[in-house]
Symmetry: C2
Subunit: 248 residues, 2 copies
DNA sequence: GGTCAACCTTGACCCAGATCAAGGTCCGGT
DNA sequence: ACCGGACCTTGATCTGGGTCAAGGTTGACC
């Protein structure tokens, strides 16, 4: 892993697109200098595996661009995605040598990697860094719990609608925008990867996409591009209550 | 909430049963003094609701004894448990006023509560506290991801076996013991709560328990007490690979 | 020691989503 | 422009677990 395709370009933190959302969001200039000293960029092609479960990993890092996934596989091949990493999300676990999940690039991905050992030291005496990491971890835990409700209790159609909502919110509305109508975005996953996300088979995913299309909840332009004419309409299909207070 | 049943007893941290496993595990004497100043104990009866989702919560805390659950409910009543809190587990989220999930005591529970605001301040200048909280949060995230695999991909029988394994490990073998044979423990949940944990109906849970009993994987003494004659036998039913390396 | 309520079990039947199978579409390479 | 492979769709059928229904157990409280 981590050979061949890595790009060695070094970018200024000050011009970094995820500067204000990633682990480093609240670091001051001095801390950025320290991070800069232990960072390097690595690029991965769509479909490439970034790390295998059980492998030892000497870095942690942030997704600068693209989409990566975390997933688990059972011996007989059943697969469940357990993390969807978009720009600014954090990869790896400090104080742990080996990674527990397969990490895969589903689009071309650029990672900003920090050498793990020195990063752990920085974490200890940079509260700006550790506080942000705690906050991001708590957010991920909340997301995981929403995901558990989806996996345990939602119908296939609700699962699809929920997934589209999540993607629409993070991909479309440029930055934490109020979701408007006529949102358009590209699905960052194949039908099979969506199935792994949702705990379904790829056939069921395909049927549900067709169903939502047939009922006018979404339009498709090609296989991957989705247009949502009325966001509320899509939200109503998710099974989530009250059309979500947080979007007024 | 939080009235009537609360006990006001104050216990010495030095004799606290969860002293070395909870958020405060790595705090020194000075930090304990500070925590002590903002703590109070609260007791809840089995079945009591500790907090409702959406409610504002002015404390965070640790489970001292007993079992509590976090769960989400959809408008039509479908319910999914998203957290199972045993002794030493942490409740609440610093820097967030409202709780996102229903918190319920499933057995009698004692909580060691810290007033939220001062706890947040302590977190900032006590790395021993914040590092431990980060570590616990990362552990919970890992647990949530295992749980996602269970919900998304395991069969009903595998779900039951996995649940029994989790409980056996945390309830029985006193402290992080190697699981031996003839483990016995009490289920801390009703069949209905188990169903909410596993994304099943209570009837299916009941049938699967009967199935495991019929096949000699477990014995029941009454409805709640479980005896596992061979731990490996139970593990083999979980669907998890390699009978788990970590238990040699 | 009888009653009631909470909890659990089991059976019969049904259905959402899995499985099996057969194409269709799109795109990159020659 | 054709070919091959990756990806997607749709149909037919099957089945694990849900739903509905009818008791059984247990234990707290008169």
């Amino acid at each position: 892993m981590l050979d061949g395709t890595m790009s060695l370009a070094k970018t200024e933190c000050s011009t970094c697109p995820i500067r204000h959302r990633a682990v480093c969001a609240r670091c001051g200039p001095e801390e950025l200098v320290q991070l800069d000293a232990i960072k390097s960029y690595r690029s991965f092609k769509a479909g490439e595996t970034i790390a295998w479960a059980g492998e030892s990993l000497d870095f942690v890092g942030s997704v600068v661009s693209g989409v990566a996934t975390l997933s688990q596989t059972m011996e007989d091949g059943r697969r469940q995605m357990v993390g969807l990493l978009l720009a600014s999300d954090f990869v790896g676990r400090p104080n742990r040598e080996t990674i527990t999940y397969d990490v895969t690039a589903t689009t071309d991905v650029v990672l900003c990697c920090f050498r793990r050992k020195p990063f752990q030291l920085l974490l200890v005496d940079s509260p700006n860094l550790s506080e942000r990491l705690l906050e991001m971890t708590l957010d991920e835990l909340d997301a995981a719990r929403e995901w558990m409700l989806l996996l345990g209790r939602k119908t296939a159609r609700e699962k699809l609608a929920s997934f589209l909502c999540i993607i629409a919110r993070r991909e479309a509305g440029p930055n934490a925008e109020i979701p408007h109508d006529n949102i358009a975005f590209d699905l960052p996953l194949t039908r099979e990867a969506m199935a792994d996300y949702l705990g379904l088979t790829l056939e069921t995913v395909s049927r549900q996409v067709s169903g939502l299309k047939r009922d006018g909840v979404v339009r498709l332009e090609g296989k991957r591009r989705v247009v949502v004419p009325e966001f509320d309409r899509l939200m109503a299909e998710t099974g989530d209550e009250g059309h979500e207070l947080a979007w007024a």
